[in-house]
Amino acid sequence: MTASHTMRGFIGLINGSADIGRSRLFWSFAAVVLAGFLLVPAWMSEFGAYNIAYYLLNIPLALGLCLLWGYCGVLSFGQVAYFGIAGYLYGVTAGNLVASSLGPLIGSVGGLAGAALIGLIFGYFVFFARVQNWIVPILTLVFTLLLETFLGQTAGYQWRVGNVQLGGYNGMTAIPSFQIGGFVFVGYAFYYYALAVVLVCYLACRLLVNSHRGKVMLAIREDPLRTELLGYDIRAHQLLIFVLSTVLAGVSGLLYVQWGNYITPSQVGLLQAALPVIWVAVGGRQSLLAVMVSTYLLNWLSYALSTTGNQYAPVIMGVLLVAVMVFFPNGIIVTLSNLLSPRRRAGSAAMAKK
């Protein structure tokens, strides 16, 4: 009885009002889509599956930004910094532990812990100093650009950690793939691993926003002072969500280096820093689901554009952002969903006026 009870409570929480996609029809559709993803190896080559894994791997980072910006009201332009920190830390750690089959696992944990720690320090100064909301994006952007500059000048033999060279603008190469014990996640195995990680991240975020803490997040977004005067330490709440978003960015960073086995400083540069904001805004920043879908589709789009030799992928992305901001301030997917669903969602009207 208790097991089924817990299960029902869990489902209730997943299906709470804080995200779109709660109807039976939606879940049936989601099941079909998931089945399609699970069956990818049946009808696609390993190369095709690798590409799909690439479109998927930025989703955790985008979900983190969605929590921070859409649900908490704090825009960060520097999420890619934590992507890079986790990626580089993984590269250094796993690269030095190639002899051990536990190296990649230790590297993953270390990468996430490093991203979280630096996020905690950065976030502490930002939120506990009560830096104003509109300054935060600038500080986060400066941080990631500093990181890019630092990593860019690490060319040469003196910039090595153990056996691993940081590599300056050429980046770090030959980063080991993920492995647990003797099992190495390459090919279809990597695809399934990435898919599972993304799903877990999404469901965890959805649980979070439907929990009481999620409600407090919305309250802080709507009116920080009012929320503080209902007895909440909003600094601590914002810091926690910020650290969580850095961990999610770190997850994407790990997936990226485990996917391509390399990373360069441009991954934390200006262009990369702007992209997550576009993914999140285009889908609709107050819905995790919308952000997940738009992140996938836009990563597919820019990959498709760049592989056909099109130089204008960043320009198209920028135009898309401006167009969405003008015509769909709530994001395309959220706007469509509100049109389709008869019940108006509280909270979506909120974003329209801001």
């Binding site: 309250a219 709507e222 002072l225 005067l229 007895g231 909440y232 509280a346």
Partner: protein, 236 residues
């Protein structure tokens, strides 16, 4: 139970609050009145922790809270509403009431829970309503904000012009509910402009003028006070 000693607050060269002493007794319904610019709202912000005083000390239940951040004061049993309505207009009524619920001194102290249920009933607001708060009429929004604060279970309620923009009937309804809540053990401090409201509810009145306490006493003493009539009530 709530005491301010020699509070001072300056903004640039302007002394907004100049040496104010204030004592609010347990279960009192205390009104703070004064003409525009008298320092009412600044005093209010000092009491609930939005501003820090330049000088002076504040005590709550004999504990000094001068340096305590606002949310700590709320956790110790203070609740407050703002001069302009700050219910979450774009969240549902249910969400508005759920946010303060968890802090939930309401569960510890039975009195607070009872007061919340009583006010919910009298203000005729459905706590399960999923409609967006901004669709409520103005007076109900004001009541909703009071309810949100009561949901957190305060022992002292600090209200900044709770009846601003209300019709006379709505004002009187607010007065009745506040008086009853006061009878149920809630200490209430109201900053108010509406002298009819103050006459109706106040047990103790503090008159502020140019950042100083101008007069203190019962409502009868205050309305009989010649100088108060001159500066505030506008009658000779």
């Amino acid at each position: 139970m709530w005491r301010a000693q020699q509070l001072r607050k300056k903004f640039g060269g302007i002394v907004a609050i100049d040496n104010i002493d204030l004592a609010v007794k347990r279960q009192e319904l205390h009104c703070i009145i004064g003409p525009n610019g008298a320092g009412k709202s600044t005093l209010f912000s000092l009491l609930c922790g939005i501003y820090r005083p330049d000088d002076g000390r504040i005590f709550f239940e004999e504990k000094e809270i001068t340096a305590a951040p606002a949310f700590r004061r709320v956790q110790q049993g203070l609740g407050m509403t703002f001069q302009t309505n700050r219910a979450y207009h774009d969240l549902s009524i249910r969400q508005n009431l759920e946010v303060p619920m968890k802090i939930s001194r309401t569960r510890e102290s039975g009195g607070a829970a009872e007061r919340f249920r009583y006010a919910l009933d009298l203000f005729q607001i459905d706590g399960q309503n999923d409609g967006i708060a901004r669709e409520l009429p103005h007076h109900k929004l004001q009541w909703l904000e009071i309810l949100m604060v009561l949901a957190a279970g305060p022992e002292v309620l600090l209200l900044d012009e709770p009846t601003a923009g209300m019709s006379p009937e709505e004002t009187m309804q607010t007065a009745r509910v506040l008086q009853h809540l006061n009878g149920m053990g809630l200490t209430i401090v109201v900053v108010e402009h509406d002298i009819a409201f103050v006459r109706e509810v106040a047990q103790a009145v503090t008159v502020l003028h140019q950042g100083r306490v101008f007069a203190q006493g019962t409502i009868d003493e205050i309305t009989a006070h010649d100088d108060v009539r001159r500066i505030y009530l506008g009658r000779a």
